[in-house]
């Protein structure tokens, strides 16, 4: 909350035409993404879609093979100290030296972050019920995740980056992580980027969402806008069809005979109008979850 004076651009992360291959495997292809300051940015995609590779570019752990990555207006590979000092990061692997004690890893991490808040770190340690003398290797999976979360939060970063933070964790620890996200953005101006394959988490928390599939961004918008622009209607036609007529914006249509279910992208009123033009009756309209929208967009591409 304190350190936001030296930020000029409105975007926290600016990625332009980023491509990356590992050997013959294409991991990212022409990814362009602008993540505005403030709010929660959800990155969703299946296993191996490129979420972690993209996040590692933001963290300066991969250099851009082609294209560019800017975080706070800087190249994170060229300016790691300036960039990483303002980011709190938790990776899916949650790899921290497991021979250290909780208090040792806290002191050790503190040396990297001038903004480390000792009092806040202590508050978090108590809230997460972490024994300072305990060695990391003796902690349960959930407690180890809480240590990582503490280390990511204690310097009150401007940007919190969480890569699959709740993967493999029980609901109680997941709750801690989601609550930390809520608290982080409740402080004005702070930004959270998190990737997840648990789409109900993303639906609860994200202001903006990007869907990544096969190394490409296939959908990126405000979550509200995404939810308003996809629809599922079941239409009943006067005469039966072997193949239902196409309506503008149709992504998929399934059914038989008189009744066909359309999955469409577009303005709801226009879709209803289009159905009327075909003299079809709308017998059902289903509201779509982010999960439904994701599945349909991925199967199409």
């Amino acid at each position: 909350m304190s350190d936001s004076t030296n930020l000029s651009s409105a975007s926290v992360v600016e990625i332009q035409r980023l491509s990356r291959s590992f050997g013959a495997k294409r991991a990212l292809h022409e990814v362009s993404l602008s993540i505005p300051r403030g709010g929660v940015f959800g990155l969703i995609g299946g296993n191996g879609a490129g979420k972690t590779t993209l996040i590692k570019h933001i963290m300066g752990m991969h250099y851009a093979q082609s294209g560019s990555v800017r975080v706070f207006g800087m190249d994170p590979v060229a300016h790691p100290v300036e960039v990483l000092g303002r980011i709190g990061y938790m990776s899916e692997e949650r790899d921290i030296p497991n021979w250290m004690r909780v208090t040792e890893i806290m002191n050790y991490t503190q040396t990297f972050y001038p903004a480390w808040d000792t009092k806040y770190a202590e508050e978090l340690r108590e809230m997460f019920d972490l024994d300072p003398k305990q060695r990391i290797r003796n902690l349960s999976r959930g407690q180890a995740a809480r240590v990582c979360l503490l280390l990511a939060l204690a310097h009150r970063p401007e940007l919190l980056v969480l890569d699959e933070p709740s993967s493999g964790l029980d609901p109680v620890v997941r709750r801690d992580i989601l609550a930390a996200i809520v608290r982080t953005i409740a402080d004005e101006g702070r930004t959270v980027i998190f990737s997840s394959h648990l789409l109900d988490e993303v639906e609860r928390l994200a202001d903006r969402v990007a869907m990544i599939h096969d190394g490409q961004i296939i959908l990126h918008d405000r979550l509200d806008t995404i939810k308003e622009s996809f629809h599922r209607f079941t239409l009943r036609f006067e005469q039966p069809f072997n193949e239902a007529p196409l309506i503008l914006g149709t992504i998929e249509r399934k059914g038989a005979g008189h009744e066909w279910t359309y999955f469409c992208r577009g303005d709801r009123d226009q879709l209803i109008q289009a159905a009327r033009t075909l003299q079809a009756e709308i017998v059902q309209e289903t509201l779509l979850s982010l999960d439904d929208i994701f599945v349909c967009n991925v199967t199409r591409s």
Binding site: A186, R204, S289
Partner: protein, 135 residues
């Protein structure tokens, strides 16, 4: 205040909150003058984006269900529902008509629909079992 979010429902989360608060007001479980939790507190409790809570509160304010008081927080409006009884009846009639048409299209008899309404009311009145264990 008991609110349950089902992110997989497809119903936008802000709307789930709006509908449930309206229901709590209508059923008397939230009384006029009662204070709602702050945006931040409810966001942490429900684990949803604070902007979503803010949007729900704005909608409720526009609908006259809640009112913001300067310096204080958000309260259930003293007037309760701002709509006259006649208008409320009209709104409800439309919904009932729609339900009856759909029910008859799906082949349900009136007494089955009535039974279903009673069942649903019973379900809505009781907090869900699995969630009750958390609180």
């Amino acid at each position: 205040m008991q609110i349950h979010i089902h992110a997989q429902d497809g119903v936008p989360i802000y709307l789930q909150i709006v509908q449930q608060i309206k229901y709590l007001v209508a059923s008397g479980r939230l009384q006029p003058g009662e204070e709602l939790p702050s945006i931040r507190v409810l966001a942490e409790q429900l684990l949803v984006n604070p902007n979503t809570i803010a949007r729900a509160y704005r909608e409720l304010e526009t609908a006259g269900v809640v009112e913001k008081r300067r310096t204080a927080g958000t309260f259930i409006a003293e007037s309760g529902s701002p709509l006259a009884r006649k208008e409320r009846l009209k709104l409800l009639n439309e919904r009932v008509d729609q339900l009856l048409v759909e029910a008859s299209q799906m082949g349900f008899e009136l007494n089955e629909v009535l039974k279903l309404i009673q069942q649903r009311e019973h379900v809505l009145r009781q907090p869900k079992k699995e969630e009750r264990n958390h609180e």
